[in-house]
Symmetry: C2
Subunit: 215 residues, 2 copies
DNA sequence: CCACTAATTATGCAAACGTATAATTAGTGA
DNA sequence: TCACTAATTATACGTTTGCATAATTAGTGG
């Protein structure tokens, strides 16, 4: 009777794990959390649902792993933009701001993904830890970049003021990122990046130039 | 047997509707979307679940109504802060900024509520309309306040630049609101409001003073 | 005080959910 | 090629979900 059992191949563990995480992220981003059921995730990853339990002892664990991966990729992407931006602290700061406010960082799916996770963050301890670490990482990076830029231009700022500048710049970037992703039609192309550069310039008192095409 | 049927009283329709909406908002804010089931909502509103269907033909409709109400209250609250802030355009702008960055507007539950809704916004047309209108209202209010403040201080700005200033200020307020709500322990009391005032000051080039205690 | 209406409760249903467990089968080493 | 292991499929279970429908009962107008 049951002679139509599904064929399959055994993939390396890390690869299967990754495929399941990708499927989870894609589903949440595209159709929302409620669409990311174990059955849908399995279908998207082209396996049967039982396999999920073989790699993640609970669905919560899968979602949490997906969150960590997603946040890690976001931080890596912006960090990479800085490192490829050359030498000058001011130019590096400008690159950081602009990169965070352009595709692929500014993206409807990324925003929706982030919002989906924010709910769970409150009730899942592991996710909350990831959340706080990611935020701190972002702000520390920004603070370091601002500090260097201020030094380069010969301005003096105490610790307390520096912290406030970093919080403010981080907030304006977050806000623009959010609105650029959630309401894409409201902005002209590249407007978030332009406004972000102008705003950060005003806040820290250093003119940041858009360094596109300087590679 | 069934001689213990639940007692009840017939409430005015608007009151019941409101109670159901309040229960929905409270549940989503406190325990997340997945906890806001029809049964839990009914329990929180102290009715049985069948009644929900009597006031809302579908759960989606209830959630959508709750979203509209929540957003309306947010806009009303900030708008009220402006109107009670007196005459001077600069003072009014300062009041608007500060009010949006202090309790009760800055609040973990409000942020979590907002994030919960953001997912649904993409797939529910009615909610998307509400979302876009709310954002536009906020920004238009801010733009008007900035325009008046600039005129008061004798600065000239064209339409395009004004729009950009409004977007930037809105973004920094949103970002601070978000972070202040999502990571309350990261900030000192009133720090979001202080940083917000300083940042908006820097962006538009007008010093905004904190007007607390000027009533 | 009685009949009538609709607000409310009570009960039920089919579908979907996460999880558990049993049955298979692909790959591996002897 | 043959057993062995674990990766994978298949099936099932108990809950919970949103929604529907029938049974009651609180309030109202005559």
């Amino acid at each position: 009777m049951a002679d139509h059992r599904r064929k399959f191949s055994r993939e390396p563990a890390s690869q299967r794990r990754d495929a399941l995480i990708r499927a989870t992220l894609a589903l949440i981003a595209e159709k929302g959390v409620q669409a990311a059921t174990v059955r849908e995730i399995a279908k998207a990853a082209n396996v049967t649902q039982g396999l999920i339990r073989h790699y993640f002892s609970t669905k919560e664990e899968l979602v949490s792993a997906a969150y960590e991966q997603h946040m890690g990729e976001l931080t890596d992407a912006t960090l990479a933009s800085v490192q490829s931006a050359g030498q000058s602290p001011v130019a590096r700061l400008a690159a950081y701001v602009a990169a965070g406010l352009r595709p692929p960082i500014v993206d409807p799916n990324a925003v929706s993904l982030w919002a989906s996770f924010l709910n769970r963050v409150r009730h899942d301890e592991r996710m909350r830890t990831t959340h706080e670490r990611t935020y701190r990482d972002f702000r520390d990076q920004l603070e370091a970049l601002i500090k260097d830029a201020l030094m380069e231009t010969g301005k003096k700022t105490d610790e307390r003021e520096l912290r406030r500048l970093a919080i403010a710049c981080n907030a304006v970037i977050d806000g623009l990122w959010l609105e650029g992703g959630a309401l894409p039609d409201t902005f002209e192309p590249d407007e978030p990046a332009q406004i972000g550069l102008a705003s950060v310039s005003a806040i820290i008192g250093i003119e940041l130039k858009d360094e596109v095409g300087t590679s």
